[in-house]
């Protein structure tokens, strides 16, 4: 595994105090006079470390929790076997056909529209929007996606962004089939990257590179430019920055919340009975993930378009982000954890350790004065 680097101080500004969430009082307050035992007693710190080894709230967010196996007895097992045959030998080929037909229709309309209507931008944009929605619908049909949308359909207005919790890249496809969003995404390699640079460009998407720190300013500027434009597609942002397993939400990056515009939260919850839609990018490539979806019974989920929120007077962007995260988590029944999703790729900053050290040093020094 490649060495993880310590996150730069820039990323610190993104998150509120973890100490407010984690159990405090790790270093014991010696009572009365300081004695040798108090000084040698490292048990609270050790216990915390051992506790983190045994279970921690961060790794929990990225664990694929398999649903309870139900095929465990002599009646249900043959039923399950039949189910497997149906899924792989009947449904899967049908779905591949549906998807292929969809792609043929899409490409045969998209390519002419894209090249022939070069001069008529408004019309071209409108047609491309419809076509992107169409291919997304085909994708959703290829997993037998049953999506229930609640709430008013998003409108194309300037000065608004949409934020949603993130479980897999299919989140984007599910939302896109209803409304052609512009999205901000990590650039991926392979066929996904090809789709990103061709088709998604046409809906006005923005790319970033997680590992480049300078990238953030450029991206922030492009975000601002996008939302100013009156007929740009509404912008969809996944502020968690990474895929989480649809039981928890990690902290939202404040980038989407300091653009000075309305934030419309969208909550997505998948029904695990049919398939676990969490894309564990450490374990599977996106292609394998799609194949897994195409060989399951269905992808069933709920999408709630929630009430648009604005920055309240006196509220910082971080507080705003937490408030919106609260709204989404409550609606989708997710638990909140105080971790930054990027800790998947980098180490926590030394600031947290220094806080603990400072607390300990201060309590010892206080007693030193009393001796």
């Amino acid at each position: 595994m490649s060495k993880l680097k310590s996150s730069s101080s820039e990323l610190d500004l993104d998150r509120p105090n973890i100490e407010d969430y984690l159990p405090s009082g790790s270093i014991q307050e010696p009572h009365g006079k300081l004695c040798l035992r108090d000084l040698l007693d490292i048990s609270p710190t050790l216990t915390e470390a051992a506790g983190a080894i045994v279970d921690d709230s961060f790794t929990r967010c990225f664990k694929s929790i398999p649903p309870e196996p139900w095929n465990w007895n002599i009646y249900l097992f043959p039923l399950w076997c039949m189910g497997v045959l149906v899924r792989y030998l009947v449904l899967f080929p049908l779905r591949v056909i549906v998807l292929t037909v969809g792609w043929i229709i899409f490409l045969s309309c998209y390519i002419p529209v894209h090249f022939l209507l070069k001069g008529h931008d408004k019309l071209r944009k409108k047609l491309e929007r419809c076509l992107v929605e169409l291919i997304c619908s085909f994708f959703v049909a290829s997993w037998t996606g049953v999506v229930k949308y609640h709430g008013p359909r998003p409108s194309i207005r300037p000065k608004q962004v949409f934020v949603a919790n993130h479980t897999s890249m299919i989140d984007f496809i599910i939302l896109e089939q209803m409304t052609a969003f512009a999205v901000i995404m990590q650039k991926h390699p392979g066929w996904v990257g090809l789709l990103q640079s061709t088709i998604l460009e046409s809906v006005g998407s923005i790319w970033f590179n997680r590992s480049e720190a300078k990238d953030r300013e450029i991206v922030a500027r492009r975000l601002r430019e996008h939302i100013e434009g009156a007929d740009n597609n509404p912008l969809l942002i996944f502020p968690e920055g990474t895929c989480v397993n649809n039981h928890y939400t990690v902290m939202f990056k404040k980038g989407a919340f300091e653009l000075g515009c309305t934030v419309c939260p969208v909550a997505i919850k998948y029904n695990k009975v049919f398939v676990d839609a969490f894309w564990n990018s450490r374990k599977q490539s996106f292609t394998m993930h799609l194949l897994q979806l195409m060989t399951s019974w269905a992808v069933v989920c709920d999408v709630w378009y929630l009430e648009p929120q604005n920055l309240k007077p006196g509220e910082t962007p971080i507080e705003f982000a937490e408030r919106v995260r609260d709204i989404i988590s409550v609606r989708a029944g997710l638990k909140k954890v105080p971790w930054d999703g990027y800790l998947k790729y980098s180490r926590p900053s030394p600031k947290h350790r220094e806080r603990k050290q400072q607390g300990f040093a201060e309590s010892v020094l206080r007693h030193l004065e009393e001796i």
């Binding site: 007693d41 216990t47 470390a49 051992a50 947290h352 603990k356």
Partner: protein, 175 residues
């Protein structure tokens, strides 16, 4: 128990239980195995230092480097044996022994003034000067009847923590 297998047999569980002196129940051992497999990403049979440090709560801990030396590269049996000191059923002596081992970084059975200063350094970081650390440690040692040249053994530690209410317990989540 193979390196790469992800299932434990009843024999394996009993063997691990014997190795940790029955301080964990069988269910807890199964949970710990799931956790072990989760942290050991490429099923090597042990958890590397990097994989331990990928747990943010562990990486933030001031004593993480010292603990890493003790847990890096342990196989599952030894991993459970290490954690058994944190079980509710562990004796005071066992807990004190872990504390002693953290101080005794060169594993020679002796804890010197310097060893204790270094642990204080880990705990207090840059918020205490060298002089303050030496002063505080010197004072409490003196009051306990030791000097700066004293070398503490495990028995000394057990004496220091005698009758202490050492709260060093970790709960293993059992599904």
């Amino acid at each position: 128990m193979g390196n790469a297998s992800s299932t434990l047999t009843q024999y394996d569980i009993e063997e691990v239980q014997r190795h940790c002196n029955n301080l964990f129940s069988q269910q807890e051992i199964v949970s710990l195995y799931q956790r072990f497999c989760q942290l050991d990403r490429n099923a090597k049979g042990f958890i590397s230092a990097d994989e331990f440090l990928s747990v943010p709560e562990f990486a933030m801990n001031p004593l993480s480097q010292r603990l890493l030396k003790m847990v890096d590269g342990l196989n599952f049996k030894d991993f459970v044996a290490f954690l058994s000191a944190f079980s509710a059923k562990a004796s005071l002596a066992q807990k004190v022994e872990v504390i002693f081992k953290v101080y005794d970084s060169d594993c020679n059975g002796k804890v010197t003034f310097n060893d204790m200063i270094q642990v204080l350094q880990d705990l207090a970081g840059s918020f205490m000067s060298d002089q303050q650390r030496e002063e505080v440690l010197g004072q409490v040692l003196h009051e306990a009847g030791y000097t700066k040249e004293s070398v503490l053994l495990l028995d000394d530690f057990i004496k220091v923590f005698d009758h202490a209410n050492l709260k060093m317990e970790v709960e293993v989540p059992v599904d």
